[in-house]
């Protein structure tokens, strides 16, 4: 069954377009059909044939289904660029949607939905309404998906014309394929809406579970994925659901199996009977193991998911560790994931066999895999106390092979083992020192130096060893320099003799005067001060007992794990990140997708970056569910300046050691009144003429870092890049910074899309956001910004009264924190409510208490952490009391900062 279509590609003569035009208008059917094929061939190789629009559309009225499909395909591609001409096709579409042949009716309605031209959308409504009630299930299943398409183009239209109700009716359709597509369509619409549209009641549940038995494999996946959101009322219902779903574990389609596993795991949370739970675990194990016989790409997805599953329910696969042993021909990405799971399943019972495997892998040829295998041995040592000694002896055997990267990796993990089991295995230090001169990787070097410093008193020639590193101190990477500094100080404190004393002077000199690395400098000055003022205190600090470490390098936070488990089989479970960290919905009605549009050699991703699309000009008519005003959608207007902001960079170094730093002088320039100006974070005086103002903002449910660059220097600045330090919410740039060249005296504004949970910092929550920006002409600029918590409030933070009360009661009183703001006046209730609602703090109720008014609000930050808020005030009088209750009271301080800002505004 092979065709010869390639001949259509081979017409590259001059004057091709006029020739095609002529052929398209030929009186002979066959010639016209061939011409359309040539047009499609040209389109396929990326040539612009949009100028033939009218001629191609003229061929649309045909009995020939193949030709019709080709013309439709052409329309999907070019209607956007010819919106006015596209209207020519409408009549045929409408006519085709009433054709006696259901294939043509479905084709018409399917294609119209793909033409993202507003004018056509209006004409789509009537045919779609008809097709949703068509006699033929093939047409209905196509129409069901078309509702989601229409919603994507114009949500309001879908709501106004009652399509949502029609779609919900299709859930009761007698055809399983129609039901499945209606479910997919509704789930998609729900995902993009803040209103409750697709709520699964126990009634729909039973209908869908029945349809599950009859629809296609893909349909089963839609249904299972949608149903996994359903919360059973009690353990009994959960058991019933699970009983209906378990047969799916026997399906040949891996996606069906994984989605069934997801649903069973969800319901298991409610099941109280340990027998039932144990039984279910037993039932899930074999299908999960069988996933490892699937195609490697599927195995990869399965392994990423199994990684999550064993964190929540380790018993399921406790006895199956052998199936995760690597096969010689496994692709490297499969091997890496298997290794991760082997570590998770390693136990005292199986460790001997596991170590034998790791040792085998450590002698393979793929460097990354070998390193990971060595590291795995170390992690097992930290995890299993009783096996630590065996792990170490394997590591020593590997060191003896003298393969450079194996040795280095082994030293890195041995450092951790020393920390985990102090005073136990130091006898091997001598062996380690033998490989000293082969170390050339920073992390391995740093680890070895740490070991020497930590055990300086046991290593006779510790001073000689360290000294050998000192010569190259200035050339070493920062990581090594820091360790050298600390190790030398340790050595000095432990052996305060002449040799070390000289060394420490060399090091301190190197690390203060000779360096421009602030971290190193800070640490060196601190040591210096400690050593010169109070050596005993220095001992207490530097030689303090260290907290015990454990192997948590790959354990996920329980709330995140919950969310990921609810997302089994999806990308979220593959990335181990919540969906909002990577989902970027870009509205694209007017975005062109032609290939030719972008000249060769532009920066990758420049033209289509989300930041570019998100600016006002490209925004489509928004759905009613989006609140921001038109003004908010505009790109940030270039502003020359704003009043000097409070967020000047505090100079830690200056504070600490009294070094004088050039004072921060704010530049005084007239502020333009357009829009609220961004706070200046890097004044021009500090930034050698570059002034940076920036703020986090939220638009259409997306986080952006809105930045304004003003170039007051004499040079053209370009090549801007940005980096965010680890922070409490893991905020990071979702893409590269897109800033054009900035001429002297001009400015540029940009909206940088941001993601959450990328680089989380440990420690107590803080609003600090440290930013580094660099360009090709200047040094790196560091400045601090503040994360306003309310920017993180999500659009779905509204709570029903009942669930508000319930949540309030379910949280212990210790989670309630309150604060008074004596200076704040609430003068207009309405304005305040609007103000808060615009920041996704949703009003729930108001109650009078004597002369005071008490307001209740709800808000939510990503990962579903709710805030229940109570504001008490006397209207018009100064003084507001704010109480907040949240599962995570640590962040309430940040919350108060936010509410203060909001109420003052």
């Amino acid at each position: 069954m092979s065709g010869h279509d390639s001949k259509y590609f081979s017409t590259t003569k001059k004057g091709e377009i006029p020739e095609l035009k002529e052929e398209l208008n030929s009186q002979y059917k066959d010639k016209r059909k061939d011409a359309v094929k040539k047009v499609i061939a040209a389109m396929t190789v990326g040539k612009d044939v949009s100028s033939l629009f009218t001629d191609v559309v003229n061929c649309m009225q045909t009995e020939n289904l193949e030709l019709k499909k080709l013309v439709y395909l052409y329309l999907i591609n070019y209607a956007k660029s010819q919106p006015d001409l596209a209207i020519l096709a409408v009549n045929t579409f409408v006519k085709d949607s009433q054709d006696p042949n259901p294939l043509i009716r479905a084709l018409a309605v399917r294609t119209m939905g793909c033409i993202r031209v507003d004018k056509i959308t209006e004409y789509l409504c009537d045919p779609l309404q008809r097709c949703l009630k068509d006699d033929d299930p093939y047409v209905r299943k196509t129409a069901a998906i078309c509702v989601a398409k229409l919603y994507d183009i114009n949500a309001e239209l879908v709501e106004d014309r009652g399509f949502l109700e029609a779609l919900k009716d299709l859930i009761s359709d007698n055809n399983p394929m129609v039901v499945a597509n209606a479910v997919a369509s509704l789930a998609e619409i729900q995902d993009n809406s803040n209103k409750p549209i697709f709520e699964i009641t126990s009634h729909t549940l039973s209908k869908l579970l029945t349809a599950l038995n009859e629809c296609t494999e893909w349909g089963q996946v839609f249904i299972l994925d949608a149903l996994s959101r359903y919360k059973a009322a009690d353990a009994r219902e959960a058991e019933n659901i699970v009983e209906r779903v378990t047969p799916r574990l026997q399906h040949a389609n891996c996606a069906v199996v994984l989605s069934a596993v997801k649903m069973i795991l969800q319901q298991m949370e409610l099941i109280t009977s340990t027998d039932v739970v144990r039984n279910l675990c037993k039932k899930m194990a074999p299908p999960l193991v069988t996933l490892l016989s699937a195609e490697p790409e599927i195995q990869y997805v399965a392994l990423r998911n199994i990684n999550l599953i064993v964190q929540r329910r380790p018993t399921i696969l406790a006895h199956e560790i052998k199936v995760f042993f690597c096969k010689y021909n496994d692709p490297i990405y499969v091997k890496m994931e298997k290794l991760e799971i082997m570590i998770k399943l390693a136990s005292d019972r199986n460790i001997d066999q596991v170590l034998l495997e790791f040792k085998e892998y450590a002698t393979e040829v793929d460097v990354d895999f070998v390193r990971k295998a060595v590291r795995a041995i170390g992690r097992c040592a930290i995890k299993l106390e009783r096996a630590a000694e065996r792990c170490i002896s394997v590591l020593l055997e590997l060191i003896k092979i003298k393969v450079n990267y194996v040795v280095q990796e082994a030293i890195i993990v041995i450092k951790d083992i020393f920390r985990r089991y102090p005073n136990t295995y130091e006898s091997i230090i001598a062996t380690l020192c033998e490989s000293l001169d082969t170390l050339d990787e920073p992390e391995a070097k740093a680890s070895m130096i740490w070991i020497i410093g930590e055990y300086a008193e046991r290593i006779d020639n510790a001073d000689e060893l360290l000294e050998s590193f000192l010569e190259s101190f200035p050339e070493e990477p920062a990581q090594v320099q820091l360790q050298l500094l600390t190790a030398t100080v340790k050595l000095f404190l432990k052996k305060p003799t002449e040799g070390p004393q000289q060394m420490i002077q060399v090091v301190l000199n190197n690390a203060t005067v000779e360096t421009d690395n602030p971290d190193l400098r800070d640490r060196a000055y601190i040591y210096w001060r400690l050593l010169s003022t109070d050596p005993e205190a220095a001992k207490d600090v530097v030689l303090a007992e260290k907290p015990v470490i454990s192997d948590d390098s790959n354990q996920l936070d329980p709330t995140l794990l919950d969310e990921l488990l609810a997302n089994i089989a999806t990308l979220s479970s593959v990335y181990h990140k919540p969906p909002e960290a990577f989902v970027t919905r870009v509205k694209t009605t007017t975005q062109r997708t032609d290939d030719d549009e972008y000249p060769e050699g532009t920066e990758p991703g420049y033209s289509e970056s989300p930041a570019h699309v998100a600016d006002g000009a490209a925004s489509p008519p928004s759905s009613s569910s989006y609140v921001p005003s038109a003004a908010a959608r505009q790109p940030v207007p270039p502003q020359s300046s704003s009043p000097p902001a409070a967020a000047a960079v505090p100079d830690l170094l200056g504070d600490l050691i009294g070094l004088d730093n050039s004072a921060i002088v704010p530049v005084d320039q007239p502020a333009t009144p357009a829009g609220p100006p961004l706070p200046i974070l890097l004044p021009a005086s500090t930034g050698q003429g570059l002034q940076i103002s920036a703020q986090l903002t939220r638009r259409d449910g997306q986080l952006f870092y809105s930045i304004l660059f003003e170039n007051n220097s004499q040079t053209v600045l370009d090549g801007f890049m940005i980096q965010f330090n680890k922070n409490t919410f893991g905020l990071a740039a979702a893409g590269p910074l897109q800033v054009p060249q900035i001429q002297p005296g001009s400015s540029a504004a940009t909206l940088l899309p941001m993601v959450l949970f990328q680089n989380l910092s440990q420690g107590p929550p803080s609003s600090l956001l440290q930013v580094a920006i660099k360009n090709n002409q200047q040094p790196v600029w560091y400045f601090n910004d503040k994360i306003s918590l309310h920017v993180l409030f999500t659009e779905d933070g509204r709570m029903e009264r009942a669930s508000f009360l319930e949540t309030w009661r379910s949280l212990p009183d210790s989670n309630e924190v309150s604060k008074d703001f004596p200076g704040i006046v609430v003068s207009s209730v309405e304005a305040t409510l609007d103000q808060l609602a615009a920041s996704n703090m949703f009003f729930i109720a108001r109650r009078k208490h004597a002369n005071q008014d008490v307001f209740y609000f709800s808000a939510k930050i990503p990962q579903g952490i709710p805030f229940l808020i109570e504001l008490t005030t006397v209207i018009g009088n100064p003084g507001v009391k704010c109480a907040v209750k949240t599962p995570n009271p640590d962040v309430s301080a940040l919350f108060f900062e936010s509410i203060e800002t909001l109420l003052k505004a």
Partner: protein
């Protein structure tokens, strides 16, 4: 948690777009192409690249088939398992249409490819991937003349894999039970993994809408029916069924009942993880006299009953990549040096049960070697074989009942065979 693909791309070996279908208009082909060509350039071997990659707001998922990549792009939290599997199914569909899926066949059939891409996926949701039924209403040039007036019932039917009105003069069913043995032996000679993956491969040539019922000597089934098996009953670890099998019914009373698709398909696959004695045991002694020669001795022993015979046995043993001048002697079969895979390949046409054969070989090694050469690849010994009329599990088809309303008699033919799957023995 809903989500779907934005676009599907068919790319050539360098990552350039051959054909693509834009489902949502939010991932331009230029962006995808730029990303993917860069990826291929960077990694060289896509084996090293995770099949799910995120860049600049878009997730790309891809598979490779001969000289073509199939890739979907998405901006949502879509079902990765479903979309990747869908790509594999798309390969099956294209293969059904064009015999082989490769760059040439895609170019030669681009019109049909577009039609298929329109039918198998809608708005990024996988829709329908039954090649046989698709070819009833999406036809290549040769069959274009027939006018299709409606989609086949099967597309939206509960029985979506079979059309009505199929007629055969002679109604026949062929059932092949194929068991592949996977084994992994570590360098200490311990068996660390051993399992059997079986498949019931069916070819049906049946008229109408036949109801089939299959009986196996499955212990749970026999117990459910309150019978004690005459022969031996077996326990199967995990069974997976083709979508035609009624899963709820199987869950209830372990009856395997179904209306089969027309033609070839895998009715069920199963797995057995009980440890079995390796059917062919291979021991190798490799003595490497550095910078002069390497001596190899292989012993291969068959550990099944004498009445069975393995055929087409191939034992592949890795040798150093710089080995030369082989001299090989065998007690059975023929052996040769395959320099392209740095291996010694020993072929034995027929290997009866309970026998032992030997091979001795010697290679010369160069007298000079690089000082600090990277560690050598250490592939395991690999063994291939087939043993007809034999299954490791002892699975038996007790009956295959075929009932059709026209009442014809259909003949089932059953064959059994065991083959080596991933059969690896690591060298010392």
């Amino acid at each position: 948690m809903a989500g779907a693909a934005s676009a599907l791309f068919l790319l050539d070996i360098k990552g350039r777009v051959l054909i693509w279908r834009d489902y949502r208009g939010d991932v331009p082909a230029s962006q995808a192409e730029r990303f993917f060509t860069k990826l291929i350039e960077k990694e060289g071997d896509p084996q090293y690249q995770d099949p799910v990659v995120y860049e600049n707001g878009v997730t790309y998922m891809f598979i490779q088939h001969s000289n073509v990549y199939l890739m979907v792009a998405s901006r949502q939290n879509c079902n990765a398992a479903s979309l990747l599997l869908f790509l594999h199914r798309a390969v099956d569909v294209f293969k059904h249409y064009f015999e082989e899926l490769e760059e040439e066949s895609l170019r030669d059939n681009f019109v049909v490819v577009y039609e298929l891409l329109d039918e198998i996926m809608d708005f990024g949701f996988p829709q329908y991937t039954e090649a046989k039924i698709l070819s009833e209403f999406i036809k290549t040039d040769a069959y274009r003349m027939e006018v299709t007036q409606r989609p086949p019932m099967a597309v939206t039917n509960a029985v979506s894999w079979r059309s009505e009105g199929i007629r055969y003069k002679k109604n026949e069913v062929f059932l092949d039970v194929v068991e592949s043995v996977n084994i992994l032996v570590n360098s200490n000679g311990q068996i660390i993994r051993s399992d059997v993956v079986g498949a019931l491969k069916m070819r049906t040539y049946l008229s109408g809408m036949p109801e089939c019922k299959l009986g196996l000597n499955d212990r749970l089934l026999l117990e459910a029916q309150g019978r004690t098996a005459k022969g031996k009953a077996i326990d199967l670890d995990d069974i997976k069924f083709h979508q035609c099998v009624r899963l709820a019914r199987f869950e209830n009373d372990r009856t395997i009942s179904f209306i089969p698709p027309d033609g070839a398909f895998d009715l069920m696959t199963y797995r057995l993880s009980t440890q079995v004695k390796p059917l062919i045991w291979v021991e190798a002694q490799v003595e490497k006299h550095s910078r002069s020669r390497v001596e190899i001795m292989i012993k291969a022993r068959s550990q099944y009953k004498e009445r069975s015979t393995a055929t087409n046995v191939i034992i592949e043993l890795p040798v150093p990549s710089d080995a030369t001048n082989p001299s090989i002697r065998t007690s059975m079969g023929s052996a040769s040096y395959a320099p392209e895979s740095d291996a010694l390949v020993w072929k034995i046409k027929s290997f009866p049960g309970n026998k032992e054969y030997m091979l001795r070989a010697e290679f010369l090694l160069p007298s000079i070697t690089a000082e600090d050469a990277d560690p050598e690849r250490k592939p395991p010994i690999r063994v291939k074989f087939e043993i007809p009329y034999f299954t490791v599990s002892g699975i038996q088809v007790r009956y295959l009942k075929i009932i059709e309303k026209s009442g014809y008699q259909a003949l089932p033919w059953v064959r059994y065979i065991t083959i080596a799957g991933e059969y690896e023995l690591r060298l010392m």
